[in-house]
Amino acid sequence: MKAFFDSDLWWSFTRSPVTMISALVAFICIAGAVLAPVLAPHNPFDLASLQLMDAFKPPAWGEEGDATYPLGTDDQGRDMLSAIMYGARVSLLVGFCAVIFSTTLGVVLGLLAGYLGGRTDAVLMRIADIQLTFPSILVALLVDGVVRAALPREVHDQIALFVVIFAIGISNWPQFARTVRGSTLVERNKEYVQAARVIGLRPLAIMRSHVLPNVMSPVLVIATLNLGFAILAEATLSFLGVGVPPTQPSLGTLIRIGNDFLFSGEWWITIFPGVALILMVLSVNLLGDWLRDALNPKLR
C-alpha cells in the first residue's frame, strides 16, 4: 500500500484535479450502483411498490415535487433516482463483464499468438484482422440478432443479459490480443525469458510468471478505455431496443423510455439518466486517459 502511495502513478494522480474529480465521480457511480439495493430509496423492480398515481412527479425541488422522489418519477411512478441507480448497476455490470470477457479472451489469445508464433499466430491474427474489419457495434448487433432469431423469445429474455455481454465482449478482443501479442513478442526475446526457457520452465509457466506481468499495463489502459466504450455500446443496443431486457432497465433503456417525454415537459425522465450515463462514461474515459498518460512516460 505504501508502495502505491509512493509510486509515480499516485503522484501524477494527485497532481491532476480533473483526474481526482473523475475518480470521485466514477467512485460515486460505482458505489451507487453496487450498493443500490441498500442505498436506493425505492426498489424499481418491485412491481408491488409502484404507485401509478405517483407517476410523472417532477424532481423534489420542483413545484409539485415530492421529497420521497428526489429526482421525480417516470410514467409508471418509478422513483428516477432508484431507477438510475439500478440502471447504472445493469450498465456497469454489462460493461465490466464485457470488458473482463474481452480482456481475458484477448490476453490469452494474444499471449498464445505472441509466444507460440508460427501457425497459431498467423491464424489468430488473421481472425483478429477479419474481425477488426467490422466495427464492433455491428458485430454486437449481429451476434445479438442471430441469438435473438435462433432462440425462442422466453429463453432469450432470460439470457438476454449474457447475450449482450457476450456480444459486446466478443466484439473487442482483437484490440487486446494485438497489444498483448506485440508486447509478448518483445518480452519473449528478452534474456530473462530466454533464460527461463533454458532452465526448462514450461511455456505456460513462463508466460504466466514472466510475460504476463509485463504486458499488463497496456492491457489495463485499453481495458479502462474499453469500459467506457462497452457501457456506451450497451446503451446504444438498449436504445435500439435490442439490448438488455426491459425488466432490467439499464441507463440506455431509461433514456429510450424517457426519449418519448422529451417534448412534453417531463424532461427529468430522460435528462437524468442521460446525465448519469454521460458522467459515468466521461469519468471512466478521463481515468483511462490519465492512466494511459501516467503509464506511458514517453507522453509526459
Binding site: L47, A48, L50, L52, M53, A55, F56, D75, Q76, G77, R153, E154, D157, P246, T247, N259, D260, F261, L262, F263, S264, G265, E266
Partner: protein, 526 residues
C-alpha cells in the same frame, strides 16, 4: 395604366393562388406493407387505400352508410342483395367500372389468400345481372351485409388480369405481385409514387364521381405520406412544420401541441376497445407456477384480477385522460350498445385479495402478461401498470411486451396465458365482436377466430347464432343478453375505449373519424 397592370397582376396572382398545389404532408408511425386492397385488413393499409379505392357503399362523416359505387341496394330475397351501380365511373387507368368488376372484386376477396374473410364470410357468390346491376348471394340471411361491404374495395378485372393479380397477394408465401406497389382504383386520389418505408404520394383524381357532391368539400391536391416510427421525431416534425398532420401523436405531447399556437389537436373516440383476454381453455396454464389447474378458469380469479385494476389511475396518468373507461365490449357507436351494461366491477384491492383467497390462492400466483408494444396507444405502459397492480394483490406478473408481429404470432398460436388486445369494430355492429372474440372456435368461418383464450360458453354461442340470423328487436335482445353474460362471466377484463387524438397544423381542417381513418375528400387546407 400602371394601376391597371397592377390589377391584372393581382388577379393573375389570385388565380394562380387558387390553382396552386395544396399539399398535406401526413405522418404516422407505421407504413402500409402492401397496396393490395384485399390482402391485409390492417389500419395502416386501409388508411391509404381507402383514399384510392371505393367500396360499393361509402361511409359519411358519422360513419353512417351512404351510396358509394352502388347508388342503392336492397335485400331482394333473404339471401340475395341487389346493388344498382353508379354509371360513368372510370378507374384511374381509364377502364369503365361495371358489374363485372364487382363480381371480380367480391370473388377476389373470397380467395383464401385474402385477409378480408370477416367481411365476406357469409357471401356465397356474386353475379352480374346487367352491366350496372349486381346480385350478391349469401349462404344464410345476413342482415348487416351492407355494413361489411363498406370495407370491400372494388378493383378492375381487366387491369388485374393484365397484371396477373387476380388473387390477393399471399403475404405468407412472400410473393411480389404487381398490386404490392401499384393501384388502380376509382377513388378520390390516385397513387402517384410509392417508396415503402419512405414516402407514398397521392394526387387528387379530379375525375372522381364524388366531387360533384357538395359534402365532399376537400381541396387537397396532393397527399404525401411518410412513416416516422419514432414518437419524438414525429412530434418534432410537426412542431417544426415539416409535417402537417400526425395521426398518432403521443399522448404526453398533446398539451404541448395544443399550446404550440400553430398546431391543434382533434380529439375523439375510436371504435376500439382494449381488454385483457385469458386462457380459460387449458387445464394448466403455460406461463404460471400453478401446477395441475388453471386459476383463470375460476371466475373469482378473473374478478379478482378485474378488481385489482385501478382504471382511473390508468385513465388519468397513463392515458392522460385520452381514454373512455368501460365495463363492456364495445363503445356506443356500435349497434347493440347498452348503457346499463357498461358498468365496471369496482376497483377494490381488498376484495381482489379476498376472492383470490376464496378461490384457493391466498398467496397469489405467478403469471406472464403478453402485450404488444407498438399496436395500441401506450399499450406497453398500460400493461406495465396493470402488471404492477396485479402484483400488489399477490398475482406476481411478468410482463412480456413485444412488437406487433411476434405478439400476434404468439397469441395466434394459442401460446399465451393472458394478453391484452384492442378490438376495433369496422362494421359498427355487435356481432363482429361477439363472433370473433367470444364464440367457440369451431372451424366455421369467422367464429372465434380471435378467441385465443378458447372461451367457450354454449349460452354465448346460442346468442351469437341469434345475432347472425335474427333481425329487429329479437336481434337487439340477443345482443343485450350477450352483453349481460359478458359482464357476469368475465371472459375478458375490459380496460377502455381508445381515444384517438389527431394533431395537425392549424391551417388544416378535417373531420375526426372514429374509425381512425383520415378522409382527404373532406379535408381543407387554408
Amino acid at each position: 395604366m400602371i394601376r391597371r397592370l397592377f390589377l391584372v397582376a393581382a388577379a393573375l396572382l389570385a388565380v394562380a393562388g387558387a390553382a396552386e398545389a395544396r399539399t398535406v404532408r401526413w405522418a404516422a408511425s407505421g407504413d402500409p406493407n402492401t397496396m393490395d386492397p384485399h390482402s391485409q385488413n390492417v389500419g395502416t393499409v386501409t388508411m391509404v387505400l381507402q383514399q384510392i379505392y371505393d367500396a360499393l357503399i361509402a361511409r359519411n362523416q358519422r360513419l353512417g352508410l351512404e351510396p358509394g359505387l352502388a347508388l342503392s341496394w336492397s335485400q331482394v330475397e333473404p339471401t340475395r342483395w341487389r346493388f344498382m351501380l353508379r354509371q360513368g365511373v372510370k378507374f384511374h387507368e381509364g377502364e369503365d367500372f361495371t358489374a363485372d368488376d364487382v363480381v371480380f372484386s367480391i370473388t377476389r376477396s373470397l380467395q383464401p389468400t385474402s385477409n378480408f374473410g370477416i367481411f365476406v364470410d357469409t357471401i356465397d357468390h356474386a353475379e352480374a345481372v346487367d352491366r350496372h346491376t349486381v346480385d350478391i348471394v349469401t349462404k344464410a340471411p345476413d342482415p348487416i351485409l351492407p355494413n361489411k361491404l363498406a370495407s370491400v374495395y372494388m378493383m378492375s378485372r381487366s387491369w388485374s388480369e393484365r397484371h396477373n393479380a387476380t388473387r390477393p397477394q399471399n403475404t405468407r408465401q412472400r410473393e411480389e405481385m404487381h398490386t404490392v406497389r401499384n393501384t388502380n382504383g376509382t377513388g378520390a386520389y390516385r397513387l402517384q409514387s410509392r417508396e415503402p418505408d419512405v414516402r407514398t404520394v397521392l394526387v387528387r383524381n379530379n375525375d372522381w364521381w364524388g366531387w360533384a357532391d357538395a359534402s365532399n368539400n376537400g381541396n387537397v391536391t396532393e397527399v404525401v405520406f411518410r412513416p416516422i416510427a419514432s414518437d419524438a421525431t414525429r412530434v418534432a416534425a410537426l412542431l417544426s412544420g415539416e409535417i402537417d398532420f400526425v395521426m398518432d401523436p403521443p399522448l404526453q405531447d398533446l398539451n404541448r401541441l395544443r399550446q404550440a399556437g400553430n398546431t391543434r389537436v382533434l380529439e375523439g373516440p375510436e371504435v376500439r376497445t382494449l381488454f385483457i383476454a385469458m386462457d380459460v381453455g387449458r387445464d394448466e396454464l403455460l406461463y404460471s407456477d400453478v401446477r395441475g389447474r388453471n386459476p383463470l378458469r375460476d371466475v373469482r380469479v378473473r374478478r379478482a384480477l378485474y378488481q385489482a385494476i385501478d382504471i382511473q389511475a390508468i385513465h388519468r396518468t397513463t392515458m392522460r385522460g385520452q381514454s373512455v373507461v368501460t365495463g363492456t365490449l364495445f363503445p356506443e357507436q356500435v349497434n347493440g350498445y347498452v348503457r346499463e351494461e357498461d358498468v365496471r366491477l369496482p376497483y377494490d384491492q381488498a376484495r381482489a385479495r379476498a376472492q383470490l383467497a376464496e378461490a384457493g390462492y391466498p398467496n397469489g400466483f405467478e403469471i406472464t402478461l403478453d402485450c404488444s408494444n407498438n399496436r395500441y396507444i401506450n399499450d406497453e405502459q398500460i400493461c406495465q401498470a396493470i402488471a404492477a397492480m396485479w402484483t400488489r394483490v399477490g398475482v406476481r406478473t411478468r410482463l412480456n411486451a413485444m412488437p406487433l408481429a411476434p405478439f400476434f404470432a404468439k397469441i395466434q398460436r394459442d401460446d399465451s396465458s393472458i394478453y391484452m388486445l384492442g378490438w376495433g369494430v369496422p362494421t359498427l355492429d355487435a356481432l363482429y365482436s361477439f363472433q370473433s372474440l367470444l364464440a367457440t372456435r369451431n372451424g366455421a368461418q369467422g367464429d372465434g377466430i380471435w378467441n385465443f383464450g378458447r372461451y367457450s360458453n354454449p349460452q354465448m354461442d346460442v346468442l351469437v347464432q341469434r345475432m347472425k340470423t335474427e333481425t329487429g328487436e329479437a336481434r337487439q335482445a340477443a345482443i343485450r343478453d350477450a352483453l349481460r353474460l359478458y359482464r357476469e362471466d368475465v371472459p375478458h377484463i375490459p380496460v377502455h375505449h381508445q381515444m384517438i387524438p389527431w394533431a395537425m397544423r392549424s391551417n388544416i381542417s378535417m373531420p375526426h373519424m372514429a374509425n381512425n381513418q383520415p378522409y382527404f375528400r373532406w379535408t381543407t387546407v387554408n
